[in-house]
Amino acid sequence: MDLARTEVAARRRAGAARLGLVAGPVAFFAVFFAYPVAAIVARGLKDGDGWHLGRITEVAASADVRHVLWFTTWQALASTALTLLIALPAAYVFARLDFPGKQVLRAVVTVPFVLPTVVVGTAFLALVGRGGLLDDLWGVRLDTTVWAILLAHVFFNYAVVVRTVGGLWAQLDPRQEEAARMLGASPFRAWRRVTLPALAPAVAAAALMVFLFTFTSFGVVQILGGPTFATLEVEIYRQTSQLFDLGTAAVLTLVQFAAVAAILAVHAATVRRRETALRLVDAAATARRPRGGGQWALLGGVLLTVPVLILLPLAVLVQRSFGDGGFGYYRALTREDGGTFLVPPIDAVGTSLTYALAATGIAVLIGGLAAAALARRDAGRLVRGFDALLMLPLGVSAVTVGFGFLIALDEPPLDLRSSWVLVPLAQALVGVPFVVRTMLPVLRAVDGRLREAAAVLGASPWRVWREVDLPLVRRALLVAAGFAFAVSLGEFGATVFIARPDNPTLPVAVARLLGRPGDMNYGQAMALSTILMIVCAVALLVLERLRTDRSGEF
């Protein structure tokens, strides 16, 4: 029948529109992620006469690799447990208690998450390392123990738990607990039976994110791990850049890839569970002034933890950057030293900002398109599978991506090796997941009938998007851009490979300075880290002002 055919055609057009939205992100990921990673893995496992898959078992069976894998896993588990232990009470305090200065404190605890890992490593080095604050005061050095790494991981991921769990906690209807109390449950029982089950998926999701971040930790371990401790990522870097053993690096990449894919699969499942079936209320209405010894104790604990755990390392970093009380190290940054760099280190600030802005543009474009495609209610299974794939760059070895860029994108038709755009492209890969995660909940929350209302009033699909969607997601778009910017600014693993020697980014410059002996280099690293921290903190503070929806995942 003719009519039926026209309707079918209309549906097909909708399908085509969806495909058009997905095509851009898919192409981007295929060319700038899958292809370089595949190329470098192939380079490692193949030579002239074919594949050497035997290498996989051979390398995986070696004691060294098993040792690295074991350390990577247990330090990630320990970091996750420690982070939950310290951050869950804080999640409660931020969600349910009302106290002066809460907004400021909330912003403060988020600072570490957007800080470049290199800065975090440097700050902890200044606190617990050789010649650090604790060394000066009591002769205590933790940089030779695993504690330095664990503490830095807690510092870095505290906000992940506070935001993910606390955000949901604040929106849980307290009347649910009250209903349980009226049915005869004690306060603790009511919490355990009603609130805890509702929170469990969020706790699981946060724990998995922390595990993922610490499992793939690079900058922190590179700086604090010394020769003793190495995660997979650090080992991949060592094998690639120092030992030139691409075969081992390829196998390690595959191992990490498999582990990360498993983590992400579990994460996707818990997130899906969280999205269903919870009755949420306005977060502003659920917080109360603390009452009773327990609540005051928790609040006191948080007010003590935050300065010690978060402010102290940053303060020491700033203090060390001033050396003997002057601006000597900062002045040194502006001088051409000819050794470490071909340019004055301060130039790295401009370079970093330029790259990060370009990376933000790319990430927002690609991530925005992907989120728009994923948010459509008629999104099929394939599109939803793509959702999980978008998270992969968070976990796949950034070092591998960086090196993959070098060997895969160096010949026509894509000869980008000498192009500056290579760095922003790599950084955008890490930014895209953040953009998608931030935009998606907001886009999904736009009531489809608002769009229908606009359509019935005469707005074409494009007009509907501009008049209804855009005003509602503008805020989320800015927040997403801010995250992408901070993440791009701090990206280290990939950038360290592809940034050209005469154009280092801030984290690369910091790492190089730290890699050289002498107080001057150390001091300059501290000074440069301080600058990087300030840039990130400013970006974050702008974000905090924009952010209204606190139930996002980061």
Partner: protein
């Protein structure tokens, strides 16, 4: 003006709209009445172009709308929960349609003022929609739907979320407004009171099909079948054998109006037609419960034997107490033989 020809929509094999034929004439107010899930909202969405048809077609002014997207159909739709644009103020919402259709700023402003006056919210243009009460939101939604001068205005549960007294007042206002403007209206509701008060013609839907249509009084007087009767709130419906002027029912032989259809069919007795008489006369019953309804008392009766319960309406003064034994006789004028 509007006609649907064998309009069919299936969701996963189930027909939500099943070959519906419906016409709405110019200036007519038609109200589709039905329980939730009967397909009435889907009906509106197909006319608006928000829901594609699986078969059949929609014609507006005689023109086939197949393949015409929602934004080119020039019909208005007022959503169940209004769906005002949260980021715009009242004037921004009302001006949306004219603006999209390219009206100048001056025209927009004049139209907004005119419509806010019309819906009884003069000068409310700068107010935020979040600060409006339910009734005010409803008025703004109406103004917004009317602003682009749609050739057909559709209302989805227009008064659904408002409280009772407000609903009763607004329904009268709407009726008066549509009469004055000569708007062609297609509304859907599950509330029979709303439908009867608003409509020139009522269409009762059941499971995606039209069960009955007619003027409010026709539908009220002569429900087409047991479903419509029960949906309208009548409980005294039983299977009966009609022969001549009498129907044989579990309650005994009932008089029926002359000319009623014959044979085995459901019979409805309106509560007003159930007359209470002295115990011992007519059908013996026990009073199971009584409910005060303001203008009358609804008395629930349990007949002797296994006949189904009966509902009677009587004035407060005559209402028996629960547990009392009474006799029941039936008034033929309030007995309806259903199809």
């Amino acid at each position: 003006m509007l006609s649907l020809e064998r309009a069919t929509v299936r969701f996963g094999g189930r027909a939500v709209l099943d070959a519906v034929d419906l016409t709405v004439a110019e200036h007519e107010v038609v109200c589709v009445l039905g329980p939730s899930g009967s397909g009435k909202s889907t009906l509106l969405r197909t006319v608006a172009g928000l829901q594609p048809l699986d078969a059949g077609r929609v014609l507006l002014d005689g023109r086939d709308q197949t393949g015409v997207p929602a934004h080119r159909r020039e019909v208005g739709l007022m959503f169940q929960d209004h769906q005002l644009f949260p980021q715009r103020d009242v004037a921004g919402n009302v001006a949306f349609g004219p603006r999209i259709r390219g009206a100048s700023r001056g025209e927009q402003r004049a139209r907004v003022a005119e419509l806010l006056e019309l819906v009884g919210l003069p000068g409310a243009g700068r107010r935020s929609v979040a600060a409006l009460s339910g009734g005010e939101q409803q008025r703004v939604a109406l103004a917004r739907a009317l602003a682009p001068r749609p050739r057909l205005l559709m209302l989805d549960e227009p008064l659904g979320q408002l409280d009772r007294s407000l609903r009763e007042r607004l329904v009268v206002e709407l009726r008066e407004l549509f009469g004055r403007l000569g708007t062609t209206v297609l509304a859907v509701t599950h509330d029979q009171g709303e439908a009867f008060a608003l409509a020139d013609r009522v269409v009762v839907m059941r499971d995606g099909r039209i069960a009955q249509q007619g003027t409010p009084s026709e539908v009220w007087q002569r429900p087409a079948d047991a479903f419509v009767a029960r949906f309208l709130g009548f409980d005294n419906v039983v299977e009966a054998t009609v022969a001549g002027d009498a129907a044989d029912t579990p309650w005994g032989k009932l008089p029926v109006p002359a000319g009623s259809p014959q044979g085995t069919r459901p019979v409805l007795v309106r509560p007003a037609g159930v007359r209470l008489v002295a115990p011992g006369e007519g059908l013996r019953c026990t009073v199971a419960a009584r409910t005060f309804k303001g203008t009358h008392v609804a008395v629930r009766l349990r007949p002797e034997g296994d006949a189904p319960p009966l509902e009677a309406a009587c004035v407060l003064r005559d209402a028996p107490e629960a547990g009392e034994r009474v006799g029941v006789e039936f008034d033929g004028a309030d007995v309806v033989v259903l199809g």
